[in-house]
Structures are given as structure tokens and as C-alpha cells.
């Protein structure tokens, strides 16, 4: 390869399509113990493709080096502190990975007869039970593949439940602090979104709900704690208002990491809640999935759960597909079982006591961080937070330094930036969630770094605007990427 220009451990690595050689192979197949068919006789020629044009031809070590190098340009939780707000980047225990790879789980076909998968079915029923216990619900489905998928399942169930009452409603209430998925989910489920303004304390005012709630509104989607990191203190009252008008309360459980063993959402009048196993229950994010978004519901809504539902008859577990009120299926098979398995292992590792401790320490960490950064950064809502806290770039604005610059400068110091420019209600937001798995020393180091960056913003703002510099690539031209999209490699370019 010409001129790769590697520097130390930052090795340049071309695309897989730009290396290799005709005839090189990186695979081995089982022996041919039967005769190879003459494909041209068996299938008409218009069924057949020419060669796989452009496909790589590499040796096994070529492949290993390629992806190993790529991995080294990535930052994961195992590399360092990852304070992404609302993403709960906690440590991903290694034992969970091993459990998911056990042959008796990883190699089992979803259509394996029920009699041969009793342990797996038991595990799924148990996990649904644990999640219901943690959230104060009655029954759960593991079918949704991610949080947004759980939301969609929930909104479709609400639609079905209303239909069963002979009602069709048009709107859903969503607070201005909500995740973007809440709004788009409502739309996909054919509801119009009505935005609710949060109040000066950063929570939903019940008075607003009283005003907006009527027989045309299917329900409300809330996140608790919300994305400002505050407990929705009026949720019980809000739920009552919504219920009185026949609506349902959906809770986005993305921020459950603050509440385990402290509060049950079901006790506050929540009718259904999805859980992000890839946040609260320690399964890895995988660079963007796979996640798992089980949905736990109150018994009133259980008839509408997706099929199949696993039931226990005597000592035998079986799938029940015969559920006339069910919304149907939202995925083939039964959900991201391999991910659910890791969450199951995590719950066993932690126990009730450990989960409660996790929530307590997550909240302690966030408050410690908030206190430590308060002098250097603007805190728009100055009161104790739950598992995350939100700062802004207001103090740095006068030096023409923005949230983006602060985030990028953190990279130079070896940290992953917080969530930026979200929630939308806070201008120039920096949203930080430390999680319980970070110790005091790491938080101290982060606070020190952020304080130093605040100082740099005053004294040498260019350091921030130019950041990051100690990385494989500097700031990337996103405008160019969007104006002339190049979304694949092709041999001519």
C-alpha cells in the first residue's frame, strides 16, 4: 500500500475494498462430502448473478489487522469515562458477555421445539417478572429490539386499547424535554404530538395537563426522571388527570437508573414503561446496538401485548399465539434474546440490594459532578438532580466558545464528551450522566479537566475551537458530507 504514513499507534488503514489481491482467501468451508450440483443446469441463467463485484479478497490476518486497527480509533466505556447524558454508559460486565455466548443459548434456533427450550422460556418469563417488579407493572414483553421499538409497541397497544373501547383518539401529550423518539413514535403510531412546556423548575406542571387533556387525547408520554435530570414530582397527579379523561400514561424508562428500588413507576399511575436494557441493565451499546427495549404494562393493558406470550402451565412453559386482542407482532421471533440474557445475568449479579445501591450511587455521582462544576459552568436549573445534570455554555459564550468546542476539547484530555445540545429546552446544553460505575477519583479528574477547559476558554479560546488535535482525524466537514453524500465505496472513485 502506497504511503500509509502511520504514526505510532495511530495507524492508517484503507477500506477493505482498497486492499487484498485477486485469489486471496480468508475462509475455510466444511469438506464437500456430497457432489457439487451443476448450478447452470439446476437454475435458469436469469436467476444467477455474475461475480460479487467489488467484494474483498483478503487473508485472515488481513481481516484481523484491519478491524483491530479500526477498533483502536474508537472510544468505548472500557477506554474511559463516558458521561453521555440519558445514555447510561455504565460498565458492561464481562461475565454477561460470556453467558450470552454459552452454546446452549447462542446456538439455539428460535423454532427449536418448546420441549427442548424450557430453560430459555423460564428465563424469559423470569426476566419479564423481574422487570415488572422493578417498575411496579404486571406483565412484560421482551419483543421490542430497542427503546424506540418499545415506545412504538406501547403506543400501538394504547391505540388498540382505545379501539377496544370503541374510541379513536387523535393526540398525544409530550413534554418539551422529551427524547426525539417520543415524538416520532407518536407519529408512526398515527398520533399528533402536542408539546407541553415544562415549568421553571424543569418539570411538567399539572395545570397544563388539566388544560390540554380531553377525550381526544390518547395519553401522555413522560420520561421520569426527565432529561433535565429531575424527578417529575407531580407525576401521580398528572396520571390521575389523564386517567380521569380515559387516557393512558406512557413512561420512557431511559432514565430508570435513578429509581431502582427507590420508587416503582407503577405506584405513580404509570400504565406502561419500556426499559432500555442497554442502559440501565448494563448490556453494551455495541456502537449503536443491538439494544433491547422490553415493555412492562399494567394488567389492564396485558391483553394487547404482542404475540407470542410465554405462559406457564403446571411445570411446562409454552408460547401462546392465540391472543385475539394482541396488536400482533413487532419483530420476527421473540426479541433480542441474546441481549436480554445479559440483563438477566446482571440482575442476578446485583440483586435487589445491588440495584438500589446502583441507583443511589448514580444519583450521588451526578450531584457530586454538579457541585464540582457549578463554579465554572452555567447551571440553568440550580437544584439537586437525580442521575444526570445539565450545564450550558453561557459563561463561555462571551469568549466565543460554544458547547461543541468544550465537547471537542474534552476529547483532547482523553474523555468522551457529554451529550450536547440536548435537551432542546436548554440552549447550548451539556448533559452529563456519570453512572454508578465511575469512582470518585475519575469524577475528580473530570471535574479538574472541565475546570481547566473553562479557564482555557478565557485565556486561550483557540485551543477549544481547534480541538480535538490529538486524534486520528480532526473536526470533520459535515456540510460536505451532507451536500454531496458519498455513502459507499465504489471502484471508480
Amino acid at each position: 500500500m502506497k504511503n500509509r504514513r502511520d504514526t505510532g499507534l495511530i495507524q492508517n488503514e484503507p477500506l477493505i475494498f482498497e486492499q487484498g489481491s485477486e485469489g486471496r482467501r480468508g475462509y475455510s468451508l466444511p469438506q464437500w462430502d456430497i457432489e457439487e450440483v451443476e448450478v447452470n443446469r439446476l437454475l435458469p441463467s436469469h436467476f444467477l448473478r455474475k461475480e460479487l463485484e467489488g467484494f474483498p479478497q483478503l487473508s485472515e490476518m488481513d481481516v484481523v489487522r484491519h478491524f483491530t486497527r479500526l477498533s483502536q480509533w474508537n472510544y468505548g466505556v472500557d477506554n474511559g469515562f463516558y458521561p453521555l447524558g440519558s445514555c447510561t454508559m455504565k460498565y458492561n460486565p464481562k461475565i454477561n458477555e460470556e453467558v450470552a455466548r454459552m452454546k446452549g443459548f447462542a446456538h439455539i434456533h428460535p423454532y427449536q421445539p418448546e420441549s427442548l427450550v424450557q430453560g430459555i422460556l423460564k428465563l424469559m418469563v423470569e426476566l419479564g417478572g423481574f422487570l415488572s417488579e422493578i417498575t411496579g407493572m404486571d406483565q412484560a414483553t421482551l419483543q421490542p429490539a430497542a427503546g424506540a421499538h418499545g415506545e412504538l409497541t406501547g403506543m400501538m397497544m394504547i391505540r388498540a386499547a382505545l379501539q377496544a373501547r370503541g374510541e379513536k383518539r387523535k393526540r398525544v401529550l409530550v413534554p418539551d424535554t422529551a427524547h426525539g423518539t417520543n415524538c416520532s413514535t407518536s407519529t408512526v403510531a398515527s398520533y399528533q404530538v402536542v408539546e407541553i412546556k415544562s415549568n421553571e423548575r424543569g418539570v411538567i406542571p399539572p395545570r397544563k395537563i388539566e388544560e390540554l387533556m380531553d377525550e381526544e387525547v390518547a395519553g401522555i408520554m413522560v420520561t421520569n426522571p426527565n432529561t433535565l435530570g429531575f424527578f417529575e414530582e407531580h407525576l401521580a397527579e398528572i396520571a390521575e388527570i389523564v386517567h380521569r379523561k380515559g387516557g393512558f400514561v406512557y413512561c420512557d424508562g431511559a432514565n430508570l437508573n435513578a429509581l431502582m428500588g427507590i420508587v416503582k413507576l407503577g405506584d405513580l399511575g404509570v400504565d406502561m414503561v419500556h426499559l432500555n436494557l442497554h442502559k440501565t441493565f448494563s448490556t453494551p451499546h455495541g456502537g449503536g446496538g443491538p439494544g433491547s427495549g422490553p415493555l412492562a404494562v399494567k394488567s389492564e393493558l396485558a391483553p394487547f401485548l404482542p404475540v407470542p406470550v410465554i405462559e406457564k402451565e403446571g411445570e411446562t412453559y409454552r408460547f401462546n399465539f392465540d391472543r385475539p386482542k394482541s396488536i400482533g407482532r413487532i419483530k420476527a421471533f421473540y426479541g433480542n434474546f441474546g441481549v436480554a440474557l445479559k440483563a438477566y445475568a446482571y440482575i442476578f449479579s446485583m440483586g435487589a440490594e445491588g440495584l438500589k445501591r446502583a441507583s443511589e450511587v448514580a444519583v450521588l455521582n451526578a450531584n457530586y459532578l454538579m457541585k464540582g462544576l457549578k463554579g465554572s459552568f452555567n447551571l440553568p436549573y440550580d437544584r439537586p438532580c437525580m442521575h444526570e445534570c445539565v450545564f450550558t455554555d453561557r459563561y463561555q459564550e462571551k469568549h466565543h466558545v460554544s458547547t461543541l468546542d468544550i465537547a471537542k476539547r474534552l476529547i483532547d484530555y482523553g474523555f468522551h464528551p457529554p451529550t450536547i445540545y440536548f435537551p432542546l429546552v436548554v440552549k447550548g446544553a451539556l448533559m452529563m450522566e456519570p453512572t454508578e460505575t465511575e469512582g470518585k477519583e475519575e469524577l475528580d479528574r473530570f471535574i479538574e479537566t472541565m475546570t481547566a477547559i473553562a479557564k482555557e476558554a478565557e485565556e486561550n479560546p483557540d485551543l477549544l475551537r481547534q480541538a480535538p488535535t490529538k486524534v486520528k482525524v480532526r473536526r470533520l466537514d459535515e456540510v460536505r458530507a451532507a451536500r454531496k453524500p458519498k455513502l459507499r465505496w465504489s471502484p471508480n472513485t
Binding site: F67, W73, N74, A332, R357, G372, K440, L476
Partner: protein, 449 residues
């Protein structure tokens, strides 16, 4: 008892110091915003905490036995090269978040760019997204996209599409806006009935969906279908559940298809009792703005060096909120990486050879099955690595007898197609040896005698 503390580093001293710094007396005080009466008074009713060795012992008791298997139907037992799990186990990949900070996510981004390219090459299409949840939900999203583009109501869905995929479509659509019309399959050939399809093609048709190879393993003849659909102003959607077939089959893109939605589990992803899998979604450039899901694009950095970023994000939920093309956020990133590693190993020759081996083995199984008395191949059309056969006898009984010999002998179809109540879907991959197939046939022969 406090084994869980291996994941929470705080000593009592740390907690004390931190509380002091925050200015509160106890952790309790931090939860002051939660009304007292709402706080739990007793511990959650959960098992544990367990140590690692105890946990392993516990889950080992729940594992399933692994038998010789002839089932597929949307999930396939293929060999996964050791390289795949080793590379996907690099925690820089799997403990990273979605690559929103491109400067420290180039590994994930370049891998997705490579994935997108491979999917385009495999399906013959111009653009691919970064993945969807699975084949079924990917197909449902394709249906929603066709509706966004055409604004039309009817979706013509072949009855030979995976029944669970059809069910997912039904769940995803708004019945007031869209309607599914089932197109029957030819009872002798096992292919979609083209004539029946042609009768439904009119100005209301948003899309026609065909699966190939279809749920019966039959390779559909797509040559003439697309033209009619386009003439009527609708879109042609092709789906598949067995990606390996495209090692030899003509890619849908060469047949004028508009959207391809497929399942990528076969590309190096373990069975895992149904998930996580990989939703493949490819289309043509003119539809980019209507596409669901994330996209990675190539660009340059400040110094002119090549780099990759998430792009065209304005279609997505975090920006366009209620006007987004889909609500998808987290997708199946790591599974896409596994597929990329897998295809990099197999490469141009390997995928073709693997497809040929699957085809050849299935042909061998068909041959031995057709010689058994009381056993008949149902469909005459060419198949890839699975086929339907009818047996004289109750399928459940026959399967039970096979099970006693350590064989999961096929998938009974009665649950999906009531008219196929004596039929099995039999799947053969490179993992099934000749010896296994012979043994399967011997037991069948004995049982059916």
C-alpha cells in the same frame, strides 16, 4: 453478600467525602424531590446477588441441548469463523455508543461505511442504511417508506413471504391509510402467483412485496414482475431471510427493484433464540431522503484527511422529531460489524462457494427424501437451501421420533399455513453433513413405513 460491589467502586469513605462536598447528610437527602409517600418501604423482590461462579452455575441449568437440526425458516445455522466473534469482542467496538462524536468513533464509522458498501454490492442497490432491527421490521419500514413516496393505499404481499414478517407489516401499518392484499402462491410450484398479482395491479398500489428465496425456500422468478408494478406507478420491494443465497442469485438491484429489505443473521450472527439479528435495508439514490435509519458518509477533516461521519441526519428522530422518516434510534450496529467481518473473510469467492455448498446439500437432501416411501416433495420450483415436503403421518409424531434420535427433523408448517398440515419445511446448510442427512432419511424411512 456484597458481591455486587465489584461494579460499584465507592468505599464508605468515598461516599462520606462526596456527601460532604455536595452538602447533604445522607444519600436519602438526595432523593428529597420524590414525595415521601411514593418511596418504596421494602426491598424489591428479586433473586441474588450472586457471585460469578454461582451465576454461571445458575444459568448453565437453563441451557438448551444442541441437536442435529434441519430447521431454518428465517434463522439459519451457519458456521461462524472464529475471527468474527474475536473481532466483535473488541470492547472498543462493543462498549462504544452510537458514533455521534466522529473524531473518536472512526472505527465504528469506517466499519459501517464498509458494511453499507457490502450491502449495496450484495443486493445490487445504490445505498444502504447502517442497519435495522431485523428482516421483519426492516420490511415493515420499507412498506411505510413506499407509502410516504407514493401516498397510495394498497400493498400487495405475497403469501409466500415469511408469515411472521407479514404479521409485522400488519402491525406497523395504519389500517386507515394502508391495506394489505395477499397474493396467493401457486400450489404446485410454490412460487407467487403472477397472474393473480397482475389482477390487483392498479393505481392504488403502493408496493408489491416478494420474498426470494421465499418462505418455502423457493427461488421466485422476478424477471417480469417489476415491470408491471412500475407501470402501475407502484414500488417493487424484495425481501429475503437467507442472505447467503445472494452468493449465487441475481441481486434484486439488477431487476429494477426499488427497495430491498432482508435479514442478515446468516452473515456471521449466532442464532441466539431469535435475536439480536440484522435488518438489511437498501434502496436507490433517488429515495435517500425518504429512507429510515442512520447513514454514514465519507468526508474530510480540517486537514483534508479522509474521515467518516453520520450524515443526512435531518431524516431522523433526534432532529426532525415528529416529522422523522422513522422512530428508529439504536439499531443493530454490532451485528452489522459482525456481518462486515464475516463477509470480509468469505470475500468474493467464499460467499459463492458457500452458497453453492448450501444449494448442493439441500439438493442431496431432496434426493434422499424423495426416495422415501410416504414422503413427497411438495413444490416443483427450484429452491435454495430449504424445501417443503409432505409426509404420510402426523408431523408432530414423526418429529418426536426423530427427536428421540437426536434430530430436530424439520419445521411443521400447519401453524403458518393450515392447508399444509402434513408438511415440513426442511433446511440444510453447510453444517449438515452427508452422514447426518443419511441418518435423518433413515429414521424417516423407518417411521413412515
Amino acid at each position: 453478600m456484597e458481591d455486587y460491589l465489584r461494579y460499584i467502586p465507592h468505599t464508605q469513605k468515598d461516599v462520606r467525602e462526596m456527601l460532604e462536598a455536595v452538602g447533604v447528610r445522607s444519600i436519602e437527602d438526595l432523593f428529597g424531590s420524590i414525595p415521601k409517600e411514593q418511596r418504596l418501604s421494602k426491598p424489591l423482590d428479586l433473586p441474588g446477588p450472586l457471585s460469578e461462579p454461582d451465576l454461571i452455575r445458575h444459568v448453565q441449568g437453563l441451557e438448551s441441548p444442541i441437536l442435529t437440526s434441519f430447521i431454518g425458516g428465517g434463522a439459519y445455522h451457519h458456521f461462524i469463523p472464529a475471527v468474527v466473534s474475536h473481532l466483535a469482542s473488541r470492547s472498543e467496538f462493543y462498549t462504544a455508543y452510537t458514533p455521534y462524536q466522529p473524531e473518536i468513533s472512526q472505527g465504528t464509522l469506517q466499519a459501517i461505511f464498509e458494511y453499507q458498501t457490502l450491502m449495496c454490492q450484495l443486493t445490487g442497490m445504490e445505498v444502504s442504511n447502517a442497519s435495522m432491527y431485523d428482516g421483519a421490521s426492516s420490511l415493515a419500514e420499507a412498506v411505510l417508506m413506499a407509502h410516504r413516496i407514493t401516498g397510495r393505499k394498497k400493498i400487495l404481499v405475497s403469501e409466500a413471504i415469511h408469515p411472521e414478517y407479514r404479521k409485522v407489516i400488519q402491525t406497523y401499518i395504519d389500517p386507515e391509510e394502508q391495506e394489505v392484499v395477499l397474493i396467493p402462491y401457486l400450489k404446485k410450484e410454490g412460487r407467487t402467483n403472477e397472474k393473480a398479482l397482475a389482477q390487483f395491479l392498479d393505481q392504488d398500489v403502493s408496493a408489491v412485496i416478494i420474498q426470494s428465496p421465499n418462505f418455502f425456500g423457493v427461488i421466485e422468478d422476478l424477471k417480469n414482475i417489476g415491470e408491471g408494478v412500475h407501470k402501475a406507478g407502484g414500488l417493487m420491494i424484495i425481501c429475503f431471510s437467507e442472505a447467503i443465497a445472494y452468493g449465487i442469485l441475481k441481486p434484486p438491484g439488477e431487476m429494477g427493484v426499488d427497495i430491498v429489505a432482508g435479514e442478515g443473521q446468516s452473515l456471521g450472527i449466532p442464532l441466539s433464540f431469535g435475536g439480536p439479528y440484522l435488518g438489511i435495508f437498501t434502496t436507490n439514490e433517488k429515495f435517500i431522503r425518504n429512507m429510515p435509519g442512520r447513514l454514514v458518509g465519507e468526508t474530510v477533516d480540517l486537514e483534508g484527511k479522509r474521515g467518516f461521519v453520520l450524515t443526512l441526519a435531518t431524516r431522523e428522530q433526534h432532529i426532525r422529531r415528529e416529522k422523522a422518516t422513522s422512530n428508529i434510534c439504536t439499531n443493530e450496529g454490532l451485528c452489522a460489524l459482525m456481518a462486515t467481518v464475516y463477509l470480509s473473510c468469505l470475500g468474493k469467492k467464499g460467499l459463492r462457494e458457500l452458497a453453492l455448498m448450501n444449494l448442493s446439500k439441500a439438493e442431496y437432501a431432496k434426493k434422499v427424501a424423495s426416495r422415501i416411501k410416504g414422503c413427497r416433495l411438495t413444490f416443483s420450483s427450484p429452491t435454495f437451501n430449504e424445501f417443503v415436503m409432505e409426509i404420510e403421518g402426523d408431523p408432530e409424531n414423526v418429529l418426536e421420533r426423530l427427536r428421540r434420535e437426536g434430530i430436530v427433523g424439520g419445521l411443521p408448517l400447519a401453524r403458518f399455513y393450515p392447508e399444509l398440515n402434513r408438511h415440513l419445511l426442511v433446511t440444510v446448510t453447510e453444517m449438515n453433513t452427508k452422514e447426518e442427512m443419511d441418518r435423518w432419511a433413515n429414521v424417516l424411512e423407518k417411521v413412515l413405513k
